[in-house]
Symmetry: C2
Amino acid sequence: MPLAKVRNQYHHGDLESALISTARKLTKRNGFENLSLRKVAEDIGVSPSATYHYFPDRDSLLAAVGFSLFDELADYQEHQLAKITGSTAKAAKDRFRSLGNSYFEWAVKEPHFFNLMFSEYCLMDADPDHKREDSRPYMNLTKCLDELVSTGTLDERMREHSELLSWTVVHGATSLIVSGHLESDGYKKILDDLEYALGIRK
Amino acid sequence: MPLAKVRNQYHHGDLESALISTARKLTKRNGFENLSLRKVAEDIGVSPSATYHYFPDRDSLLAAVGFSLFDELADYQEHQLAKITGSTAKAAKDRFRSLGNSYFEWAVKEPHFFNLMFSEYCLMDADPDHKREDSRPYMNLTKCLDELVSTGTLDERMREHSELLSWTVVHGATSLIVSGHLESDGYKKILDDLEYALGIRK
DNA sequence: CCCTTATCTGAACAATGTATAGATTTTAGA
DNA sequence: TCTAAAATCTATACATTGTTCAGATAAGGG
């Protein structure tokens, strides 16, 4: 059984994944607003209309690319988190900070990806397979907050208030900075402010 | 002196403001991503190329529309704020809540406007005339926080942490809800969480 | 009244998403 | 293995878009 069929004169062999990976490449470079179906097809060496056998339109190709990016973000976050070991209060605090930082860093590194993920193309409720609470980035947050509580760093009564708050602060600040509506150097202070308000003292 | 010149066969009379208001109308209806220069011109009854005498391209027309919207948002906020009078602690608390609510309500009422305002077309730092700190919505926030402090509702030490925090929470939550990435009924809880974390008790 | 300047039109161009008909290859059944 | 059906891809076409540019039309100043 051939893992990847060879490119024939006529049949590509694995056009669907080629479409996604090429769309990913061009989105990374030029942003999803400027992604051209024809350029994707041309880059692969296939006619424009060939794409319509795998995606009904440009939007659903962008959706396929976008939804796959949540795992890339989570991978980056977990790679950063793994650098901090131990179950002390300090380790839990460091992980919380790392989580907020990695979200921001990844978005700054891949602004076009970040924009696509939170665009109209990647609506969670449109696809029941994707729910925010079940997404790995959000699960990383809840786990991190639980660790803060169990190490006595975060007040138990604050726990229920901290989840959506942290999520919206980190996402809101990141989003504003990536889009150019907030100075980039303000991010550290915002994380400081958040920890201060949550009662996580240094 | 004629306030508004009458439309001639050939010369429109006040094409620049007609362009802005028509672009505003179509953006409100279809979103800025779908704003067509040609449709704007057609709606006014002018040729497509006429627009290029007032705006070098589609982007700068969108920018003109977008920047004007910050005042509309502020107008709405201040209209809501004006309903709450007095300088008691309760009044200050109510105004803070009203400020967060009005931001959200306006965005939900005009999602396409909200998206345009925080798009790449309306970058504050691109135009030195527009700075976030000087924008009326942000000034409403700082004033409101100062009132909370002066009525003893917000701890003085928390004041410096509350500004960017409130801003990013309210904007982040609003942005996520408007774009469909967060359930709409989560907003009230987020404001509750914010007040709790800031130490503003009921 | 003429001539300069501002304003607008008409036609054109390249790029885009997408639909449809038909060509080519693969695959399954006899 | 042969053949018919299904899967896959191409060619062509169409409407729409932003934008450019040469030229037409009107307004205003001397």
